[in-house]
Symmetry: C2
Subunit: 210 residues, 2 copies
């Protein structure tokens, strides 16, 4: 599948398509028109057709989309089947919430190991994932390469830990620290989950609501 | 300040402006040009001027922006000073992570109470916030109105709890359940923090990276 340069707005919509197609598939829906798909996602049919056209030809005039094959194609576009491997740094409340409740494997990511500095946690395992001391990070990653680092450490050590992850070969950082990372490597992807920005946007919207 | 209809892209950028202006202010910076502000945010100066023009006139030709007054204006736009009040539903790992580590008050929100069904937690307090039984939600909100509900309950009860919050007068739901809520009330704002979408976008971007 030949890809053109894809805008970040499209990249942000693809996961929603994927989740929604998954739900439809599980509900036994076999095909869906771009109108119906759009309506349930709050988008127009032409928007959906245009988004998908960035990645090739999908669907059939007058028939719509085959739900399971479109889901598989979107999964493929999103890299769900590429065997991504992650380590998580910081096994506090948030780290544990992700380890215990977030199903990394459903999104094509194997969570292989966790790292922390708290003696009570190091050497144990959490949801089947072994917890090592952060000092062992480089040694571990040399033996078990990972391409994603999940950052749930305290903000004050966020940049230091991010730099160690990058030096050890991680390509993407999923950043929950509410800190803007200053990682200085052009091919590293940082995906921020900024709780603050989200709450501020909510504040704004409820202030504006009728 | 007269506001025009503001696009969601602008609403998403405002919190970043706010955080950044806060950092600049704390670093002792008194004024900044729109060029410099743009450069540090990865935006063009004209983009920033255009975004801010939705809300009025800021800055001065040839002088730039006064950092602390622009920060205050953006805070005002975002509703940071409107005395928002929140309750949190679900005191699991994620709920606790937010209660212990996320400073609601820094973003103009008072976190007044938490609700859960687990006997070991109910009746205690967490980071100074009292935890009540979820059965007491309506009674509590009648006596202590809140306009934001933070949803960190398990996905299977997410919609039920969301409906109760809305019936009890909450205007905005900060949704961490990874479930698309089906709240059927047009003036309710749902702000989703979809971990899955964020991880899938990261997957995509590292698959695309050179």
């Amino acid at each position: 599948m030949k890809k053109q340069k894809v805008s970040s707005a499209v990249i942000r919509r693809l996961p929603r398509y994927y989740r929604h197609l998954n739900d439809l598939h599980q509900a036994g829906v076999e095909r869906i028109s771009s109108n119906a798909l759009g309506a349930s996602l709050g988008l127009t049919a032409s928007q959906i057709r245009q988004d998908l056209s960035c990645f090739g030809e999908f669907g059939q005039q007058g028939y719509g989309y085959n739900v399971s094959s479109l889901r598989d194609e979107v999964a493929d576009i999103l890299g769900v089947n590429r065997g991504h491997c992650a380590v998580i740094l910081g096994v506090g409340n948030l780290g544990r919430a992700l380890m215990e409740n977030f199903h990394f494997d459903r999104f094509g990511v194997t969570l292989a190991a966790a790292f922390d500095v708290v003696p009570e946690i190091v050497g144990r395992s959490c949801s089947g994932v072994p917890v090592y001391h952060t000092d062992q990070l480089e040694e571990y990653l040399t033996q078990h390469p990972a391409n994603i680092g999940v950052l749930t450490v305290p903000g004050r050590v966020a940049n230091r830990v991010a730099e160690r992850l990058v030096s050890a070969g991680v390509k993407g950082i999923w950043n929950f620290t509410n800190i803007e990372l200053t990682v200085d490597a052009p091919d590293i992807v940082v995906e921020d989950v900024h709780f603050a920005d989200s709450l501020l946007a909510l504040n704004y919207m409820i202030s504006e609501a009728p």
